[in-house]
């Protein structure tokens, strides 16, 4: 009996899993993850320890969350360069609400989320209704967000926050750091939104062919607006973790984070032109980038050289990804 079932199942199921994997955008990121992990494991004894893996995930959590919003925007064929600066702005203003206005910590956190979503709304309106290219719009709003944070704080960190805020940065549940838990929950929500709601399907449709989506009656402007608001929300969540970790609002934080976030999305197999990619791929991309950073550190490689190596790895990944298709 069990023999029969096994005989029926194993070849066909394996085959269908293999066939699905072969077509899936996840294949190459997974292969990359395995290859890089193996190399790092040989290069450093310490690599596969639980502590080190938890450490990698914790380090990646902030940019990994920014990359969630980035994935939504890139899937529609757009890009959001403002995420790092918006994160800094959220953190600074939210800390200001707690410290300078003396309001409770909860209100401060809420303020961060509101600031993030409103800034996303601003980006989205300019792109969808202003009909300006996302790369230019968010380049400009990146400057605006960064400048606003610095103006508000005079360039200094805003410190003196309620003690419990630190939980978001260094707290643990059952031994797992809070940033990792928050990141995983956000990825799960993003997966549901993209794969199990009509909104998600419309995101993919716009990236696949915006004209066709529009002519079939998809409200393309509204969807584009919402993806930027999601990106703003992701920036705010990243700001909450960062604020918890540093126990202050940092107006200068997150410089060039947008570039790492884009690298994670692309390493995760999402097409930069939109329409194709999976949120799970971005998570793999985030871990992959983290392992590369971590491994190069463990190997004691000159930090300046590390950037050069990272750059070449990204180029190689994109080249292989293109040739594969």
């Amino acid at each position: 009996m069990s023999h029969d079932v096994a005989a029926q199942l194993s070849p066909s199921v394996l085959q269908s899993v293999a066939a699905r994997l072969k077509r899936s955008p996840l294949l190459l990121p997974l292969v990359g993850l395995i290859v890089v992990s193996t190399v790092m494991a040989f290069a450093s004894d310490n690599f596969f320890s639980i502590d080190n893996i938890v450490n990698v995930l914790r380090q990646q959590s902030i940019i990994g969350i920014l990359a969630i919003g980035m994935t939504f925007v890139i899937l529609t064929g757009g890009i959001d360069l403002s995420v790092g600066a918006v994160m800094a702005l959220c953190g600074t203003l939210g800390a200001g609400v707690m410290v300078n206005m003396g309001l409770p910590g909860g209100v401060g956190l809420l303020a961060m989320i509101v600031v993030g979503i409103l800034f996303g709304l601003f980006n989205g309106l300019l792109v969808a209704w202003g009909k300006m290219p996302a790369i230019i719009v968010t380049l400009a709003t990146m400057l605006i967000a960064r400048g606003l944070g610095l103006v508000y704080s005079g360039g200094y960190p805003v410190s003196g926050l309620p003690g419990w805020i630190s939980w978001f940065g260094i707290g643990r549940i059952g031994g797992i750091p809070a940033p990792i838990i928050i990141m995983v929950i956000l990825y799960a929500l993003a997966w549901i939104l993209l794969q199990r709601t009509s909104f998600g399907r419309h995101v993919y449709a716009i990236g696949g062919n915006e004209t066709a989506a529009n002519l079939s009656g998809v409200n393309t402007k509204r969807i584009k607006l919402i993806v930027f608001m999601i990106s703003g929300f992701a920036s705010a969540m990243a700001a909450i973790i960062l604020t918890g970790r540093l126990m202050s609002g940092q107006p200068g934080a997150g410089v060039a984070f947008e570039l790492d976030a884009i690298a994670m999305v692309v390493l995760g197999g999402t097409a930069i032109a939109g329409g194709r990619g999976l949120i799970l791929g971005t998570l793999i991309g985030a871990v992959l980038l983290g392992i590369i950073n971590n491994g190069l550190n463990l190997m004691g490689i000159n930090p300046y050289l590390q950037d050069v190596i990272k750059g070449f790895i990204i180029l190689l990944a994109i080249y292989i990804g293109r040739e594969w298709r």
């Binding site: 199990r196 009509s198 399907r201 449709a205 062919n209 066709a212 079939s216 009656g217």
Partner: protein
């Protein structure tokens, strides 16, 4: 001067030209006439070396020529002004005229003085005064046209092809162009003139060659033929079978779209039409006559200047396709690949793209099983031939791709359908199936606007026909009046309606 004889050309199995002759004399304006798809453009592309003929010869001044490339045709004295301009918008007239054959100084820098002088010389010869130092994007359409002509003439073209040069010109500018053409004629240039406006042809041309369905019909002197004769040459006799029979007319049917006034452009001509429930309303006319724009303006997908239209009695037209969908209007766009489908996506996503509301669970989550079930049903209803709903659309044939787009709207039950060129680029069998399907839909109460450039399709399938010319409807035909000849006559000479 120019002699093309026995030109044959096939794209794969599709024969587009079978044995076409064209003979143009020096100092003559020669019209090349035919319906959309008759083979005019292909002929001209072969003349210019952009395409190669499978058979046939080209002689210039009695010498046989083979052009493997556009450059070789230019060197032999053939100049062409394409329908879509080939000017670079941010360069000046001078820079455009000398593009890719710039005159350089000894030091390898641009010799701007010489180029400017030569450009001025050519334009002066044309007798036109075009600003030389501003980007051509800032010039009027007519001025751009003259720059194009100057570009061709600066190469000493003795055979000049003008492909629908008047399509975008105002009547005054057309007059001016004709003056330039007459002047060139006296200088011995052989001009091939392509236009759909018969009165222009009668005004400027000496002789006319008519093509039909890739075949040569004949060449006549303008003096010995009239409009009716030309239209008959263009349309000919056709076999109009494989269309399902038309139902008896029912003029008392409910009006679903009542378009009182549609004006595409400010100061442009005005259209009016009605779509009745259960009919196929044909939109006929030449390419660029405003059929698609008019249809799209009803559903908010084209920014027309004035749209006064009632849809099911509601006087507010939809602002965008998303609202049009909510009001029950679906579109099968002209270009499947660019506007209709997300070709890289599976059939299922393409059919359910605008209809996820149907597959909700707990308010927000998608019911994937229901989506699959409905997709399979819709595919069966229109008979999409594919291994399953997960197959990407770019692996399907043109006909099956078209059926996927139709299935999208049937799945949504939008009672008003706009079909723009529904059978373009699909084979005969699939065409017949789509005709049957459209007839079945109207029997089920759907109302269809069908835009088509194929006259047999219009005459064979439409219950009524709106004929377009230069941006608006000039005639609405019914019953026995729906003939190719009648449609062609209105499409080329019909009278436009303006409002004060």
């Amino acid at each position: 001067m120019l002699e093309m004889s026995g030109i044959r050309k096939a794209f794969g199995p599709v024969k587009v030209l079978h044995g076409v002759d064209l003979e143009v004399r020096a100092g003559e304006v020669h019209a090349l006439l035919g319906e959309n798809g008759a083979g005019k453009s292909t002929m001209m592309k072969i003349l210019c070396g952009i395409l190669q003929a499978d058979e046939g010869t080209i002689r210039i001044d009695g010498k046989e020529r083979h052009f493997a490339h556009y450059d070789e045709a230019i060197a032999a004295g053939v100049g062409i002004v394409f329908q879509e301009f080939s000017l670079i918008p941010y360069l000046t007239a001078v820079e455009n005229i000398f593009l890719a054959r710039e005159i350089r100084t000894r030091f390898g820098l641009l010799n701007r003085k010489v180029m400017r002088a030569r450009a001025k010389e050519v334009l002066d010869k044309l007798g036109v005064n075009v600003p030389l130092d501003v980007p051509v994007a800032d010039l009027s359409v007519a001025e751009q046209q003259f720059v194009e002509i100057a570009k061709a003439l600066s190469l000493d073209a003795r055979v000049l092809v003008l492909d629908e040069p008047t399509a975008t010109l105002t009547p005054g500018e057309v007059e001016y162009l004709f003056r330039v053409m007459r002047d060139l004629r006296t200088h011995g240039v052989a001009i091939v003139f392509i236009s759909h406006h018969l009165e222009e042809i009668f005004e400027i041309c000496d002789r006319i060659t008519v093509l039909r369905d890739g075949g040569y019909v004949g060449t006549r002197a303008v003096a010995e033929i009239d409009t009716d004769g030309l239209v008959e040459m263009m349309v000919g006799r056709r076999i109009e079978s494989n269309f399902p029979p038309k139902p008896a007319s029912h003029p008392q049917a409910r009006v679903v779209i009542d378009a009182e006034q549609i004006q595409l452009h400010k100061n442009g001509p005005v259209s009016a039409f009605q779509l009745r429930q259960g009919e196929v309303l044909g939109f006929a006319g030449l390419v660029g006559s405003g059929r698609t724009e008019t249809a799209l303006s009803i559903m908010g997908a084209y920014p027309a200047f004035r749209v006064k239209v009632e849809i099911n009695g509601d006087p507010v037209p939809p602002k965008n396709p998303s609202e049009a969908l909510a009001r029950g209007i679906g579109l099968l766009p002209e270009s499947r690949k660019e506007q209709g489908l997300i070709t890289a996506f599976p059939i299922m996503q393409n059919i359910s793209i605008n209809n996820y509301g149907k597959y909700r669970r707990l308010g927000v989550f998608l019911d994937l099983a229901a989506e699959r079930r409905h997709t399979v049903n819709a595919m069966q209803e229109v008979r999409v031939k594919a291994p399953g709903p997960d197959v990407p659309c770019d692996t399907l044939s043109g006909g099956n791709q078209q059926k996927v787009v139709i299935a999208r709207w049937l799945n949504h039950h939008t009672p008003i359908l706009i079909f723009d060129e529904p059978t373009r680029g699909i084979d005969v069998g699939a065409k017949a199936e789509i005709y049957q399907l459209m007839r079945k839909l109207t029997e089920d109460g759907y109302s269809i606007i069908m835009i088509s450039s194929e006259l047999p399709e219009i005459t064979g399938l439409s219950d009524r026909v709106c004929v377009f010319r230069s941006g608006a409807i000039v005639a609405t035909l019914e019953g026995d009046a729906i003939t190719s000849e009648e449609i062609m006559k209105h499409a080329t000479t019909g009278k436009l309606r303006y409002v004060a």
